[in-house]
Structures are given as C-alpha cells and as structure tokens.
C-alpha cells in the first residue's frame, strides 16, 4: 500500500534509528532526533522498534491513506485529527482507506513522530531509510517529503489500534530543560572559571537549531587557557587540529555560543569541544523549540550510565505495557 502526502509540513522526513558504521567517511548516523518517541510510536502500531516513520518539526503534514491501517503519533504535543475528528497522541488508532490525517498548531515540544503499521518501505541506503539530504541518502530519493509524494508502506504490524502509552512513561524536557553533560574531549582548553560558568548560566535555544545541531545563547563567553596555538590548528583559541566530533559533543566557536551536534552533524572539524551531552538526554534536545530555557548539568560517567539505564528501562516498561 502507499499513502499520499497532501501537505508536507515544514521539513518532514522519513527517519528510522539511523545509519551507524560510516562516520569515518563523513556520513553521519542520522535517524530520529527523538528516538525514544519513534520507538514508542513503532511499538504502538506493532512494528519493529527500528522501523521507519515520519519526523515532522513544528508543523504536522496532511496525509491521505489509500488502505486501512493503524497509526500512532508521539513526541511533541500537537492536536491530531482524522477526517477532522480528534485523536489522542501517544496512542494508536485505526485508519480507513480514503481518510485524511491532519494536525493543529504545536503546543509544546518540537517534533512529532508518525508511525504506520507496516512501516515506511522506501529504499534503504547503507542500511537505513533515514533521510540525509546533504548526502542525498535515504528518504525519498535522498530528500524530505513534498506534496504529492506517494510513500510505500510495508506489510505487518498491528491490525487494530486502541493502545496508549501511560502518561508517566512518556518523556519530555522540563522547564527549564536540563541537559546532562559529561565534561571531556577538549575540556582542558577552558579556564576553571569558564568551566564553572558554563554550568551556572541559563541558556536559551537559538533560532539555528536543526538536525545538524542546536545552538544556544545567553550565557557568558568562555575563556580559554592561554597557549601558543599548535601547528595546523588555526589562530583562534577555540581552534584545534581538525578531529572527529562525538555525537552530542558541544563545540563553542570563538567561545561564545555552544552548539550541540546532533544526528546529521558534520563528522569532524576544527573547533574544540568541551564534552558531550549524555546519550540518555539526546532525545530531549529533539523536543526543544527556539527560545526555550536550558541549563547544562554536570554529571560523571556513573551518573551518565545510570541515566542511560533509566531510559532503557522506561522503554522496556512501554514494551511490557503494550504487550
């Protein structure tokens, strides 16, 4: 079966859990910004957790179904309609051939995930259907969706809707959002005072926030330990000899505005990084709107691993709940 895109939304793309294994060639891991929400959506419609779904940012698409199926929408808070009638989020519901799925205005969060029983069955590139437009990989011929697209849907999945993820098992950023950071990488480039201030200051999400990275502003500029710049590094104290960037690493070009690298980030470059957001909190970034208040919270490795375990446990609970 296929479904038809009537309106694409802002930048709606097909995403699964990503394309690991090619980072050494400059091809990012890609995949859903909020993988927790995509996994939950897939579980709701009886798909494998890594099936491809739609990721829509700030604005929902309008989709017409050509065959009966089961749909679930998770992630951001955005009113859902089926032929104009309201449907609940974080829940699965039946759709009939000819019906149209639509969305109201975004209420909180940033990205919704739409899963359809059977999953989106576009052609995988390098083992993944995730859309990576810079490299023309995945998605529909390497691009996000547009009006008039007919997207193939696979076989299988749940035959009926009616399941729901309980409120206490859903995960979304608080206010202000707290993002836990493990200092490392080139942390040693910062003065002690700068290191403290980074965690003391309140930051806001800048307008430059997308799948490549999230920029933050509002905190005090960072000061660097003085040194003679090493050969090949470049003249600015925030420069290093170009190296790999970790997923979630925080670079601060010129010491002013931190940028957290996300799923479609460049794989390397010449800016120092002061550490990385812990793996458990990367999903939360996918739900941050511009102007949202954010605090970075310093943690150690054991706390990072405990948070990772908690996130995993929450997903298992959803799995058990949905049977």
């Amino acid at each position: 079966m296929t479904l038809e895109i009537i309106k694409p939304g802002l930048s709606t793309s097909i995403q699964d859990l990503g394309r690991p294994g090619y980072f050494h060639l400059g091809i990012p891991i890609g995949g859903a910004m909020d993988r927790f929400a995509l996994r939950a959506a897939n579980m709701l419609v009886g798909n494998a957790e890594d099936a491809a779904g739609l990721e829509a940012v700030f604005m929902g698409p309008e989709i017409k179904f050509t065959q009966d199926g089961v749909v679930a929408v998770t992630g951001a808070e955005m009113p859902i309609t089926l032929d104009g009638e309201s449907r609940a989020c974080w829940a699965s519901f039946d759709v009939k051939a000819g019906q149209v799925l639509g969305f109201g205005f975004l209420q909180s969060g940033a990205r919704i995930y739409i899963a359809v029983s059977g999953g989106f069955a576009t052609k995988p590139d390098l083992g993944s259907r995730s859309t990576y437009p810079i490299g023309s990989l995945g998605g529909l011929n390497g691009r996000p969706i547009s009006a008039g697209d007919e997207i193939p849907i696979g076989e299988g999945g749940a035959s009926h809707g009616g399941k729901s993820v309980p409120e206490d098992l859903r995960r979304r950023p608080g206010s202000p959002a707290e993002l836990r950071v493990l200092p490392g990488l080139y942390w040693n480039r910062l003065t002690e005072t700068a290191g403290q201030r980074f965690f003391e200051d309140m930051w806001t999400v800048a307008p430059e926030a997308d799948r490549m990275g999230y920029r933050f502003k509002g905190g005090r500029p960072l000061e660097f330990v003085e040194r003679e710049q090493p050969f090949g590094a470049g003249a600015d104290p925030s420069n290093i000899v170009d190296g790999c960037y970790s997923y979630g690493s925080i670079q601060v070009p010129g010491g002013t505005e931190p940028i957290v690298l996300h799923r479609d980030a460049v794989s390397g470059g010449g800016y120092f990084t002061l550490g990385a957001i812990i793996s458990a909190d990367m999903d939360l970034i996918g739900q941050l709107q511009p102007n949202k208040l954010v605090r970075f919270v310093k943690v150690d490795m054991e706390q990072a691993l405990a948070a990772r375990k908690d996130r995993k446990e929450l997903l298992s609970k959803i799995g058990r709940e949905l049977g």
Partner: protein, 291 residues
C-alpha cells in the same frame, strides 16, 4: 608526542595523539585505529581516524567505558612497535586551478575574505612568501599528499602534504564561512587541502576544481559502483594541473562512464620518507607512470 585519552559522552573514547599536526601523529592515529579494528573489542560500532587523533564509538551496555578506554590504551604500545609501513595507493587527481566556477564563487563572497582586493590564490601565494600565483600553484601540486581524514560531510578528504614542516603551505579559513561552494572545489585551510565532495557551505580558501566526482550516492559513476565514497584515510594523492580542454574531456569521459582514474599500488615507509623525502616522493610519483 603526548597521547591524551578522554571520553566523548558515555559512547565515545577520544584519543589525541598530539596537539599539533605532523605525519608522525597521523601515522600513529592510523595504526592505532587499525589496531582497535583488529582487536574486535565487543561493543565497538565506529572507528574514525582523523588527522592527529581518532575516535571510537561503542555501546557502553556491552563494554564499560573505563574498560573500553583501558583496552584501547593497551594497544598504544602495539601501534608504537608496529612498523611504520602502509600498503596503500597513489591516485592522480586532475585539478583545473583558477577555473571560472570557483573564481565566480571567490568573487561572490569577497566581503567575507581577509583580502577582498584579490583572489584566494593571490592571498595564499603572498602570505606564504611566493612571488607569483603560478609558483604557489606549483608548490601545491609538485609534491604528493596524504589523505589524513575523511569527513566533515560525506566523502570529503582532508589532505596533508608530504613535505618538511618549513615547506608546508598555511592559510587561514575565510573570516566568515561562505554559504556556497561549488561541488568538487579544491580548497585549503590551516595546513590542509580538501576536495568538497558536495556543494554547500564552506570556509576553506578556493584554489581550483577537479572534474573527477568523489562521492556518488547513486553509484552511477563507473569507478564508484562498488562504493559511493572514493577516498579513505591513508590514500596518497598527486594533483595534476589541467586546463579547460582537459577538464571538459575528463567531464565528458566521466559522464560516458569511460573515465578511469590513474591509480597505482604503493608501499609507504615513514622512516624511509623521513630519511629522504624528495627521493621517497619521486618513487611514489613514478609508480603512477607505470599505470
């Protein structure tokens, strides 16, 4: 060289061989990342060598980060003891220096450049002490280069020239990055040359363009049918200056599916190179003549 081990969040170990760029640091990062690959440590998902560092991505649920770091650290002695030899290939990449397309882009973004009065090549030649653009271009292509890292965006190689430090060319990046760079631009920033694999933003100075695609997700280019990315770390490159006629000929041949890049298998020995750079380079480049 002082090796530094650190974590990038809970999923990466990052190893900096040295703060500064050198062939020794690059070689050590390449041999250590090879050693990590051969060690098959459970949980490792990505091994990414870079210019003077490398990164290992792993699943901390499989191997605890402290154990991962310790196991990688143990491989340092093995990498140090290993012969600094590399079986690799030398590739001739045709470059149309001062071509009309990058020139047009150079002029469009003049206000973001250190010296808006001239071109990127005028500026690069002057600050590196060359009396003409022609002699600077010759310095760029007369000696071969190592692909020291592939990344930034899909398939983009960073290259480091096989010459003494005094002879390394160095240029800063644009004051503010451009929003556009033609696909296959040969660029320069810091002590690295690069080839922009796709069109897009960029901050490197622009010297010319190659007609030879190096990234093809559709895999329709004849020599990219097996894999969509052309370069890998450790490749050696020799730039070959070409004019518009040759550029057009190669472009047509690529489109017709008949273009075959000139490639020769070579061995590179770091100690041999350090003892006799000119001689080692001459031998490397001679290998291309046998193809």
């Amino acid at each position: 060289m002082k090796t530094r081990y650190t974590f990038g969040g809970d999923e990466h170990v990052y190893v900096e061989m040295d703060e500064e760029m050198s062939l020794d640091a690059f070689f050590k990062s390449l041999s250590m990342s090879n050693a990590v690959r051969e060690a098959n440590i459970p949980g490792v998902t990505e091994i990414c060598p870079a210019n003077a560092s490398f990164q290992v991505k792993f699943d901390p649920d499989v191997t605890h980060p402290n154990d991962m770091l310790a196991q990688i650290k143990e491989l340092e002695h093995k990498a140090e003891a290993a012969e600094k030899r590399l079986s690799t290939r030398i590739i001739e990449i045709p470059v149309f220096y001062q071509d009309p397309w990058t020139h047009d882009c150079v002029m469009r973004f003049r206000e973001r450049h250190q010296d808006p009065s001239g071109t990127d090549l005028d500026y690069a030649a002057r600050i590196n002490g060359y009396d003409s653009v022609a002699s600077f271009i010759e310095a760029h292509h007369s000696q071969p280069w190592f692909v020291s890292m592939v990344g930034f965006v899909a398939g983009l190689p960073f290259l480091y020239q096989l010459v003494e430090r005094e002879k390394q060319l160095q240029v800063p990046k644009y004051l503010r990055p451009r929003t556009d760079t033609p696909k296959l631009t040969v660029g320069y920033g810091g002590c690295f040359s690069c080839v922009y694999s796709v069109r897009g933003a960029g901050g490197y100075q622009m010297f010319g363009i190659t007609p030879m695609p190096i990234y093809d997700p559709e895999q329709s280019v004849s020599y990219l049918k097996d894999f969509m990315v052309f370069f890998k770390p450790g490749d050696i490159v020799k730039w070959k200056p070409i004019d518009q006629t040759e550029y057009d000929r190669v472009t047509a041949a690529v489109e017709a599916g008949t273009y075959v890049p000139r490639i020769a298998e070579v061995d590179f020995d770091l100690e041999e190179f350090n003892a006799d750079m000119a001689g080692t380079n001459a031998k490397l480049m001679e290998a291309l003549n046998d193809t």
